[in-house]
């Protein structure tokens, strides 16, 4: 376990609590700033942990659980970056518990036999996790959008409807995250395809490879986001439908991570 992990986890938990309190309390006062500072400290602490893990041969490309750990770090980082443009504590209150859960799951998993990370593999893992992290931001915004939209339609406002950002702001967040995340995820898919080529050369059957769940899910993710992007640019797709598509796409991207993670666990149990 990385040396700062207990501290990192505690800081993330406090940041989560502060973001939830920011949304829930009628007078948040200095809480949003405190939450942001706490998250920044947690992010730095996790960065040191990741550095320590890399030095000990447990880099994100070498093990699935480290890739999940890395993805959670990127999620926090992407959210922190987004707060430079707009303060959306309600998105943080939704996103950070997901990042926290990913960290816990990754650290609870037993270590695998690390694979030697090549440049291509490193690029693939980096692009896939970064793409997923950016989509996570869009998905967080989409959840808030759907809740706020429902409250507006029903003429009854809860805390999110009253204090959350405007629908247009959330939709803009969604559009920007897809615009940024899609090229990164495409890079992950292309580098993944290069791996596939290598496996084909090793003599594995094409159909068998193509039907592997992680590849099917990765392509599904890409298709969903490609459709969303096209719809947004070509047909003015936005609002509720765009938010739903983002959630489906993010769900598929998370499932890819989950498949790799479970495969790693399976390998450990077999060995």
């Amino acid at each position: 376990m990385p040396p700062l992990f207990p501290l990192t986890l505690s800081l993330y938990a406090v940041a989560c609590a502060l973001y939830v309190a920011t949304v829930g309390l009628p007078q948040p006062g200095a809480l949003p700033r405190a939450a942001r500072l706490c998250l920044l400290l947690a992010f730095c602490s996790q960065a040191l942990d990741i550095g320590w893990l890399c030095l000990h041969g447990q880099s994100p490309p070498s093990e699935a659980r480290e890739a999940v750990f890395f993805a959670s770090w990127l999620m926090a980082g992407v959210y922190l970056l987004s707060t430079l443009r707009a303060q959306l504590p309600v998105v943080g209150a939704l996103l950070l518990p997901v990042a926290l859960a990913l960290q816990v799951v990754s650290r609870l998993a037993p270590p695998e036999a690390p694979e030697a990370p090549s440049g291509l593999r490193s690029l693939h893992i980096f692009a896939a996790t970064l793409g997923t992290a950016v989509f996570a931001l869009g998905a967080g915004g989409s959840v808030v959008y759907l809740i706020a939209e429902r409250q507006l339609k029903r003429h009854h406002f809860g805390k999110i409807g009253k204090r959350g950002p405007a629908l247009e702001t959330l939709d803009r967040l969604n559009r920007q995250s897809i615009l940024l995340g899609f090229p990164v995820f495409t890079l992950a898919l292309v580098t993944g395809a290069a791996f596939l080529g290598r496996l084909l050369r090793e003599g594995l059957p094409l159909l068998g490879l193509l039907l592997r769940p992680q590849y099917v899910l990765a392509v599904t993710t890409w298709l969903l986001f490609a459709g969303l992007l096209l719809g947004r640019m070509g047909w003015g797709l936005r609002g509720r439908r765009a938010a739903l598509l983002t959630l489906y796409g993010f769900g598929a991207a998370l499932a890819v991570l989950a498949v790799y993670f479970l495969r790693g666990l399976h390998r450990v149990s077999v060995s």
Binding site: L152, H155, G161, A166
Partner: protein, 453 residues
């Protein structure tokens, strides 16, 4: 001298009485000057929901004179008049400025109206130290209430709900500067609601009505553009907020029309505010994606919910007003003992100085000016240290008020130190002059002895 408030408001008087008393502009200044002539200080707060006269008066005669000048010609108003004085008047002012006494709880206009009333009183030369302190403090309290509670955050009228809803959809902090508004209908209701909407910085406003001339009339009043009813579809495609208030018996805006419009808008959000009864907008419009429809019932539901929220916040605001009132009253009572404190200190210091003057020549006949200063400083320091405890107790006792245990300390101090009796410096002078004269020969003999040596 106490602060008094005499007035009528929506709580106590019907509209015709309030209308009769309403005063503004030059008439207000003239009234203030006239009232000022009858009392010490005066301020008139005249809004659509209240007429209040804040007066600093020495006695009931002054108060009655001020009231006679202000509402003399409106005998009917006297029956609806409420009167508060002292801390009750202060509490009333704090509550009014904090919008806790307003018809729409938490409405923001009252703060500006109190400021304007104070400015007018200043202009008329009717403000003295009491009003200066109390009104300034009331404005501070109102700002604190706005900052520390959410009393003003939930829209409490139909028009402000519409603006707030637009804020939930489009952002921009509730400003409609970048969102075109379409008013469908040119009746009284539509006009009233549109006037309120205009306050949200609307830059582009279109009016459409079956009778073009009435649309033009309303557009001219609101600073918008009038259109033929046939242009409704293209105007809907342009407007982000649509306010409907026609007298039509059938829906004017149907779901199929909005479906077409949404295609042209490429799914961009739309808010329909339908204040007409019977409804102008087909209820099915609300089911269309990215379209939000609020009819009278829905608006009323939001208004009620917000009012309840404001009521909850009002409890916190009342606590702030109570706390500020207590602090202010303590400060005022502390100020009340200032003459006693000043008199006690001055008398004690004068006594100390006299003793220094008397003793120093005996102690050191050739004392320099520096020695004299040192002795004086020492004597003053002793007096200050001696008085520190009693004066602190006196201030604390005054701040606690007459009901507090040990109250009446001021009277005790005045009696103990004989502060109400003639300046003892004069008595002391008479007494001191004798020993000084007696000392003279001693000094002379001392000096002669010195010379003989």
């Amino acid at each position: 001298m106490k602060l008094h408030v005499l007035g009528v408001s929506h709580h106590s008087a019907p509209l015709d009485v309030r209308e009769g008393l309403a005063v503004s502009g030059e008439a207000l200044l003239r009234q203030l000057q006239a009232v000022r002539g009858a009392c010490e200080e005066a301020m008139v707060l005249s809004t659509c929901n209240r007429y209040e006269l804040y007066v600093a008066a020495r006695d009931d005669a002054q108060l009655e004179a001020a009231l006679q000048v202000a509402i003399g010609g409106h005998g009917k108003a006297r029956a609806h008049l409420y009167k508060h004085e002292g801390e009750r008047a202060l509490q009333h002012l704090f509550r009014v400025a904090s919008s806790l006494d307003s018809l729409v709880l938490g409405e923001p206009q009252i703060l500006g109206q109190v400021k304007d009333a104070f400015e007018a009183a200043l202009q008329a030369g009717a403000v003295g130290p009491l009003l200066q302190r109390t009104v300034q403090r009331a404005l501070q309290v109102a700002k604190r209430v706005r900052t520390e509670t959410r009393i003003g955050e939930n829209a409490a009228s139909v028009a402000s709900v519409a603006v707030s809803l637009a804020g939930h959809i489009f952002g921009d902090g509730g400003s409609l500067a970048h969102h075109p508004v379409l008013v469908v209908g040119a009746g009284k209701m539509a006009e009233l609601a549109a006037r309120h909407l205009k306050q949200a910085e609307v830059r582009e406003l279109h009016v459409v009505n079956r009778t073009r001339s009435r649309a033009e009339e309303l557009a001219a009043k609101l600073g918008g553009v009038a259109h033929d009813f046939s242009q409704l579809e293209s105007l809907l495609a342009r407007a982000d907020v649509v306010l409907c208030g026609t007298g039509a018996q059938e829906p004017v805006i149907r779901a199929d029309l909005v479906q077409r419009v949404m295609k042209a808008r490429r799914g961009r959000w739309m808010l329909f505010v339908d204040i007409a009864v019977p409804r102008d907008v087909d209820p099915k419009v609300g089911e269309i994606d990215s379209v939000y429809l609020y009819d009278v019932d829905a608006l009323q539901q939001v208004v009620e919910e917000n009012r309840r929220e404001r009521q909850r916040e009002a409890e916190a605001a009342e606590a702030i007003v109570g706390e500020e009132l207590r602090r202010f009253a303590e400060g005022e009572r502390e100020k009340g003992v200032v003459p006693t404190i000043r008199s006690l200190r001055e008398r004690s210091l004068a006594m100390a100085r006299r003793e220094v003057e008397k003793t120093l020549p005996r102690l050191s006949p050739g004392a320099s000016e520096k020695d004299r200063q040192l002795f004086s400083q020492m004597a003053e320091a002793i007096v200050n240290k001696m008085l520190h405890g009693p004066l602190t107790a006196l201030k604390r006792d005054a701040a606690a008020g007459p009901e507090a245990a040990g109250g009446g300390l001021e009277q005790a101090v005045r009696a103990l130190f004989q502060l109400d009796e003639p300046e003892p410096a004069e008595q002391a002078k008479g007494k001191d002059s004798q020993p000084a004269q007696k000392q003279q020969p001693t000094q002379t003999s001392g000096g002669a002895k010195e010379a003989n040596r």
